[in-house]
């Protein structure tokens, strides 16, 4: 199966969501999360088979491009090569925790990704999306300990983490474009 429809759909959704994600990020960071994601996804949508997540990493840039790119690498391997989605996302999550020095509860993408990985262990993408959504919603009350949001007022408490929002979109679009666990 090709990852092309997935990356095309992801680009469409982030095109629609860019302004909202930038606004979310403005409350906890530098306000460019939607733009940097879309910049990466634009290149990814144009890239060849097996090179889409890497194109995202390069075009999105910075450390965040790398960390979100690790998730997309896993999804791409799942779609292109039939790699286990649980295995790929578990690996990505472990690497993001290690590289970003971030744990569950730190108000980051990991708060959505880690519960999704746990839910995928039983093989259900819908359950993973529900778990990721709950994790995303829980970031509203968390105080950031890593990244830029740790420096904003009250560590961004009261605002959703935009990275967690994006992780839920990654998984939702995967289900919509026919991905299965």
């Amino acid at each position: 199966m090709s990852a092309e429809p997935y990356f095309a759909a992801l680009w469409r959704v982030f095109s629609d969501e860019m302004a909202r994600l930038n606004a979310l990020d403005a409350a906890v960071g530098d306000g460019d999360h939607g733009s940097t994601m879309l910049r990466g996804l634009t290149r990814a949508a144009d890239a060849g088979a097996g090179k889409r997540a890497r194109a995202f990493m390069r075009a999105s840039g910075g450390a965040s491009g790398t960390l979100f790119g690790l998730i997309l690498l896993g999804i791409e391997a799942h779609l292109e090569d039939g790699a286990s989605l649980h295995g790929e996302l578990a690996k990505a999550c472990e690497r993001i925790r290690d590289l970003g020095e971030v744990a569950v509860g730190d108000k980051s993408m990991v708060d959505a990704l880690a519960p999704a990985v746990d839910a995928l262990e039983n093989g259900d993408l819908d359950a993973a999306i529900a778990a990721a959504g709950a994790g995303r919603d829980a970031t509203r009350d968390l105080v950031a300990r890593r990244g830029r949001s740790q420096y904003v007022e009250n560590g961004g408490k009261g605002h959703l983490d935009p990275g967690a929002v994006s992780v839920v979109i990654f998984l939702t679009v995967l289900a919509e474009t026919g991905g299965t666990a």
């Binding site: 890497r54 990493m57 390069r58 840039g61 450390a63 491009g65 790398t66 790119g69 590289l99």
Partner: protein, 347 residues
């Protein structure tokens, strides 16, 4: 501030065009024009361990100027003051990888560490035998009991050069990695900034400093340091800095220290040689012989004024590698240590 560029979008690639056409030592990689490889003196990567580093541009001649025999096999060039992406670093690793193995050097800054380590993980997934070696030496960034939280500073050039010479001899990967860590753990660096560099992206000074003050411990991107001191004779400044370096990592009386006096880009050779002269005298007062100095502007931040002082207490092996000949566009010939000269005089 006037700068000589065509455009912000092309400045890095325009510079690289000039670099690769000027020097036969270097050539562009096949995978991406931002990967700089050796042009001559390439060795079989199944026989020789390969070394590379990625870094943001704007700090030239480091690190692309150090690609060549006896030093690096490749450099991955990022945008101005921005770490290259993990994907680009992976291209660099893949270009130089062979059966002998590869070491990715990483000067410890947050983006470089995340992207460099991610590239290493991705390369290992693809079966490449690559190790990441974080380098950190700036004593102002964290106290001695948290050395691992320090950032990379110009003293990391000791690691490049010593590992480069040792790799050229054909030493195996594990030995080189151990040597790299051992060198790193013996390096201390402290910087003194007198005036800001101008960002080529914004045209604005990267920090501000009163006319009569010097910033101690500032990082290569203007990261805050340990404090300000008033301008005075350079002898007093060097005495203060050497004292802090030796307090951080003592060298016993009768010991020796290799020295790097690195200019930040806007400081003259005249000033840097004065700093070296005072460093040698100050170390001598501590009973330490200053040897094999590297003096010049190698890790720069545009026209930032100031210098950093780095000390390495070398083993005999490290000293031999530090002074071994190399052939790159920018690495200088390191003078023989006085001990060798003295023996020559006696002969």
């Amino acid at each position: 501030m006037k700068k000589l560029f065509n455009s912000a979008e092309t400045m890095v690639d325009d510079m690289l065009d000039g670099f690769v056409s000027a020097y036969p030592h270097v050539a562009r990689g096949q995978s991406d024009p931002r990967v700089v490889l050796r042009g001559i003196d390439r060795k079989d990567a199944d026989e020789k361990v390969t070394l590379l580093i990625g870094n943001g541009s704007g700090h030239e001649p480091i690190a692309m100027g150090f690609v060549g025999r006896g030093l690096l096999d490749a450099n991955v060039v990022g945008d101005v003051f921005a770490a290259p992406s993990a994907d680009l670093i992976l291209d660099g690793i893949t270009e130089v990888a062979g059966k002998a193995g590869t070491i990715l050097l990483i000067s410890q800054h947050s983006g470089d560490m995340i992207n460099g380590r991610a590239a290493t993980m991705m390369a290992r997934d693809a079966g490449v035998n690559v190790l990441a070696l974080p380098m950190y030496d700036d004593i102002s960034a964290a106290p001695p009991d948290r050395k691992k939280d320090r950032r990379g500073a110009p003293g990391t050039m000791f690691v490049y050069k010593i590992l480069g010479a040792a790799a050229e001899e054909g030493r195996p990967l594990a030995d080189l990695f151990d040597l790299g860590e051992a060198v790193r753990d013996r390096i201390v660096t402290l910087a003194a900034a007198v005036s800001p560099g101008i960002s080529p992206l914004t045209g604005l000074p990267m920090f501000s400093l009163p006319e009569d003050e010097i910033f101690l411990g500032m990082g290569v991107h203007g990261e805050p340091g340990v404090g300000r001191v008033k301008v005075g004779p350079v002898a007093d400044l060097v005495d203060l800095m050497v004292g802090k370096l030796l307090a951080d990592r003592p060298i016993g009386k009768g010991g020796r220290a290799c020295v790097i006096v690195n200019g930040m880009g806007g400081t003259t050779t005249m000033e840097l040689l004065t700093v070296w002269a005072e460093t040698e005298k100050t170390l001598a007062r501590h009973g330490i012989r200053a040897i094999a100095p590297m003096i010049g502007s190698y890790v720069t931040t545009q026209e930032m004024g100031g210098f950093s002082l780095s000390l390495l207490e070398p083993t005999d092996d490290m000293l031999a590698c530090w002074t071994a000949p190399s052939n790159t566009p920018s690495f200088p010939s390191i003078g023989f240590p006085p001990v060798v000269c003295a023996e020559k005089d006696m002969a």
